[in-house]
């Protein structure tokens, strides 16, 4: 369903959108989160979380929070990243008074180099599902240490690494494998992904595709600020949400993931008011 304006600038429906049909839909019973800190502190088993970032500090703090909370709750923690990223996370963990050497020593925290992981995984430029399963099974079995640790939480930037190398197809394929591994092992999986939230092309491509591959999405570091920016931009460009706009919003089924309403609202604008989308997004960027 799209909404447009007539010659008198009144909103009205203009018919269905073919693009809309391709977007997976919101599950009514999907749990929703209020902040990334809350989500990463106690992720539901089998959840597959996407952290969208545009600065490295957010990755380090987010991953360290996720790992530290897991360690304190008796979970095994697996981290797959670049050397630089793993060093940054280690620094953050130490600042949280995590005894890094001790948790590594007792096998509760394990780290993996993303370059080696990618080299072991790819076959003809795409991830080999059988290899991935072998790697994941072995890592999780070792991490569980015969039941000494209650749960498993895994952070990785393998898809991010592949995407930055220009291999978006492989990045998305790895996400599918990650979802399957999370389900198989009852693990929580967190992915950090470098993405420009203000690039309108992403809403038809990689950003939308990545969101749809995950159960939960963290769109920004400061949820309140981002919400206020989105609200202000939409108010200025579209005006008050009433009449056909309100009906459209009510009928909109959203993406098939737990997405804060600020980010969801931008997908709604993209889908239902494509002519206004670039203006809205540009305004959000100014205010965010």
């Amino acid at each position: 369903m799209r909404v447009g304006r007539d010659e008198n600038h009144h909103w009205h429906y203009t018919g269905s959108s073919a693009a809309a049909a391709s977007i997976p839909r919101l599950r009514k019973d999907h749990p929703r989160h209020a902040s990334w800190q809350e989500l990463l502190a106690a992720p539901v088993p089998e959840s597959h979380i996407l952290q969208i970032y545009d600065n490295d500090d957010f990755v380090a703090s987010g991953v360290a929070h996720y790992a530290a909370e897991g360690l304190s709750r008796g979970d095994a923690v697996l981290l797959t990243g670049t050397e630089a990223r793993l060093r940054a996370v280690r620094r953050e963990l130490l600042s949280k008074d995590v005894d890094y050497d001790a948790v590594v020593g007792r096998g509760q925290l394990s780290t993996f180099d993303v370059r080696r992981t990618v080299a072991a995984l790819l076959e003809g430029g795409m991830p080999d599902a059988a290899r991935y399963e072998v790697l994941a099974d072995a890592a999780v079995e070792k991490a569980r240490a015969g039941g000494r640790f209650s749960g498993v939480r895994w952070w990785g930037e393998t898809p991010d690494f592949l995407h930055r190398q220009g291999n978006a197809a492989a990045a998305l394929a790895v996400e599918d494998l990650g979802s399957a591994a999370a389900r198989k092992h009852g693990a929580a999986v967190l992915c950090s992904f470098l993405c420009d939230r203000f690039d309108p092309h992403g809403y038809d491509g990689i950003l939308r595709d990545m969101c749809c591959k995950h159960s939960h999405v963290i769109p920004a570091e400061d949820y309140v600020r981002y919400r206020l920016a989105v609200n202000r931009a939409i108010a200025e460009i579209l005006g008050e949400i009433k009449g056909p706009l309100l009906q459209s919003l009510l009928s909109w089924k959203g993406l098939a993931c737990d997405l804060p309403s600020s980010q969801a609202q931008l997908f709604w604008v993209r889908e239902t008011l494509p002519d206004q989308f670039h203006s809205v997004l540009a305004r959000v960027k100014v205010y965010a």
Binding site: R227, V230, N231, K242, Q247, L250, S261
Partner: protein
């Protein structure tokens, strides 16, 4: 033989909308004091006619004294309704002060207890409203969790609920949050009212 099973439907009271089901959890984004009165006065008047206990938690811009006056001007015998407790009008600040220790499921349990008490007193159900003017960006998400709980807990109960939100305090993302946590949205495109439904309907 006459069917004595209580109806699952009741009169909404708003022009243009006839019957609504018990258990419905509605929302409305109002523009100013007059529109707030325009939706809540007929809503409660209809509830009193239907032998429902009305519990009106008032807040700015329509406080208790004004709310009672508006009801009286609409032909409701307010003094009698207040005296026999078929109508309870409380300022949000007083109500909140008493219930400040109630959070989440405790608030939902409070409403369910009110429903049970009203049914025991011979009422057909309860009709409630809250004017949501007290939220900040920081407390918004917590209140949305409460709305989620209400949406689930009130389904199938002898409770009619209308949550009113000031339109000028709700951005688009807030509207999205609210409408997807209610059964339906009331809107007034002209002199009459209409019900908009979406995912939860």
């Amino acid at each position: 033989m006459r069917d004595t099973t209580p109806s699952n439907l009741t009169d909404c009271g708003l022009p243009g909308i006839k019957r609504i089901p018990y258990g419905v959890h509605m929302c409305h984004f109002y523009r100013g004091r007059d529109e707030l009165a325009a939706v809540l006065v007929p809503y409660f008047a209809a509830g009193l006619r239907n032998r429902e206990r009305g519990i009106w938690i008032v807040a700015e811009p329509l406080h208790a004294t004004e709310a009672k006056l508006e009801l009286a001007q609409a032909g409701v015998d307010v003094d009698t309704a207040l005296a026999d407790a078929s109508l309870i009008v409380r300022d949000f600040s007083d109500w909140y002060a008493e219930g400040s220790r109630l959070h989440g499921t405790a608030v939902v349990d409070f409403w369910l207890a009110e429903e049970a008490r009203a049914l025991a007193d011979g009422y057909a159900g309860i009709r409630i409203t809250g004017n949501v003017t007290f939220l900040t960006p920081e407390t918004w998400s917590v209140f949305m969790e409460y709305e989620d709980m209400v949406q689930k807990a009130f389904s199938g109960r002898r409770i009619v609920t209308l949550c009113t939100y000031p339109a000028d305090g709700c951005g688009a993302a807030n509207v999205l949050d609210v409408v997807h946590r209610h059964s339906c949205t009331l809107e007034r495109p002209d002199e009459g009212w209409q019900i908009l439904t979406g995912l939860s309907a």
